[in-house]
Symmetry: C2
Subunit: 290 residues, 2 copies
Amino acid sequence: MTFPDRLAACASAVEMRLDAALAGWPDLPVVHAMRYAARGGKRLRGFLVMEGAALFGVTDAQSVTAAAAIEALHAYSLVHDDLPCMDDDDLRRGQPTVHVKWDDATAVLAGDALQTLAFELLSDPACHPDAGVRIGLVQTLAHAAGGRGMVMGQAQDIAAETAPVPLTLDQITALQAGKTGALIRWSAEAGARLGGADPAPLGAYAAALGLAFQIADDILDATGDEAKAGKRVGKDAAAGKATFVSLLGLDGARARAAELVDTAQAALAPYGARADHLRAAARFVVSRDT
Amino acid sequence: MTFPDRLAACASAVEMRLDAALAGWPDLPVVHAMRYAARGGKRLRGFLVMEGAALFGVTDAQSVTAAAAIEALHAYSLVHDDLPCMDDDDLRRGQPTVHVKWDDATAVLAGDALQTLAFELLSDPACHPDAGVRIGLVQTLAHAAGGRGMVMGQAQDIAAETAPVPLTLDQITALQAGKTGALIRWSAEAGARLGGADPAPLGAYAAALGLAFQIADDILDATGDEAKAGKRVGKDAAAGKATFVSLLGLDGARARAAELVDTAQAALAPYGARADHLRAAARFVVSRDT
C-alpha cells in the first residue's frame, strides 16, 4: 500500500468511527455541528496513532478509537479557533466554518462537546482492553491539550498579535510546540502506548515532524493558493505576525523544514522498513500544498 | 460538625486542590482567568463527591481530587455559559464574569482548559490508586458533560429561547436533567465509585436533589435579590422562557421541590445517620437565597 492510500484508509476509518460514536445522538443543531466539524481533513493525527500502533502489531480496529479521539479533540480546537473572537475565519477545509453555518453559541457548544467526546472515546473499553493504558492516554492527552499544552500555545499566539515586538525564533518555536506540536506528538506516542511500547522514539519523530508541519504551514500561508488550501492565506503577513518565514526567510524556512524531516526519519531507525509510511508522512508534511 | 461547616470545609479543600493543580502554570492571562473562574461558589458538587465518598470510609485527602475535577468542569461550563453569544452575563458570584474582566477569547480558552483540567485531575493517580476506578470516573463524566448530557441541556435551553411555544413540564425536566442534573448526579455517584460501592442509591438521591436545585433556582430567579444572589435575576421571566415557576406557579414549584427533597432523603435510608450531611444538603438546596 502506498502512503497516500494508507493515509486515506486511516482517514476513512476515523470518519466511520466518529460517525459511529455520534450515531443516535439527540437531533439538535449542536450535534449536527459536531458531525460537520468532525468531517474531512487529512487526519494526520489519526494516521500517526494508527500507523504508530501498527509498528507494534496493534490492529487498525483496535487503534481507530484513539485515532478518532485525537481527531475529535483537533476538531474542537479548530471550531473554537475559527470563532470571531479568536481567528475569525469563515472558511475551513473549503467549507463555511461552524459559527458561519450555525452561530457562535452553537460553535462554542459543539467545540466543547467535541473535546468531551475525545475523552469519552479514550475511556471506552473499545479503545484498549487495559484500563491502565486507557487512563495513560487520558492523562497524557489532558496534559498535551490543556493550559500547559495546546491552549497555552493558542493563548501565546493571541498575545503575540498585540505584542509590542514580534516574537523571536525561540519564542515562536515554543509557541508552536504547544499550539500544534503537543497533539501531533501525543498522536505518535499514543500508538506506542497502545502497543505497550516505549513512546520515546515516536515522540522524538513527532516532535520534529510537528515543527516541520508548522514551518510548512507558514510557507503555505506566505505562498499558498487559497482555493487549494481551502482556507484564507496570507493572513499572518497581513497581521504583521512573526512566522518562521518572516524570521528565517523563505529559503531558510524551507531548509529548516528539510533538516527536521531528516531528524524525524532518523528517529525511526529502530523500526526499519515497517516505519516507511511514517517516513513518507514526514516528507509529506513539508511538500503538501493544502 | 454542622452541615454548613462541612460544606465550607469541602469548599476550602477543593479550593486548595485547584490552586495546587494550577501552581507553576505559565504566567498567561488564560491561566489567571482559569484561577479566577475556579474560585468561589458553594462547591455543592465537590461536597457531594467528598461526602458521598466519606460514606464508604474514603478520606477527604483521597476524594478531594475528584471533587476538584467536577468543580473545574462546572467552572468551565459557567465561563462559557456567561459568554455574550450564550447567556451574556456580566456578573457571577458577585464578580465580573471572565469575558468582562479579560475578553471573549480568553474566556473561551480558559473554559476550554478548565474542561481539560477536569480530565487531567481524574486521570491523576492521586485521584484513586486503581486505574479502573479512575477510568470509570473519566468515562462517566465525559458522558454526563457531553452532547448527551450537560451540553445537550444547554443546547436545548438555547433552542427554547426562540421556540414558537414555551416548553412543557416534561421538556423542561429533561432539559434540566442534562443542563444541571447530569453533573450533580455524577458527583454523588463518584463518591460511591471512589469507595468501590454501588452508585445507584446516591444516584437516585442526587437526581432528586438536582431537580430540586433547579426548581429552587427558578424560584430565586422569580423572587430573588440580585445583591444576595450575586448574579442577574428575573431574566427568565423577562425573556418569556418557561420555568418551573411559570409552569407550576410559585406555590406549586415550592411544593414540588419539597417532594423532591423527601425523595432524596428516602434514597439515603441505607446509610443511616452517616448520611445526615447529605440529608441537610437536600434541604439546603431548596432553602438557599443565593
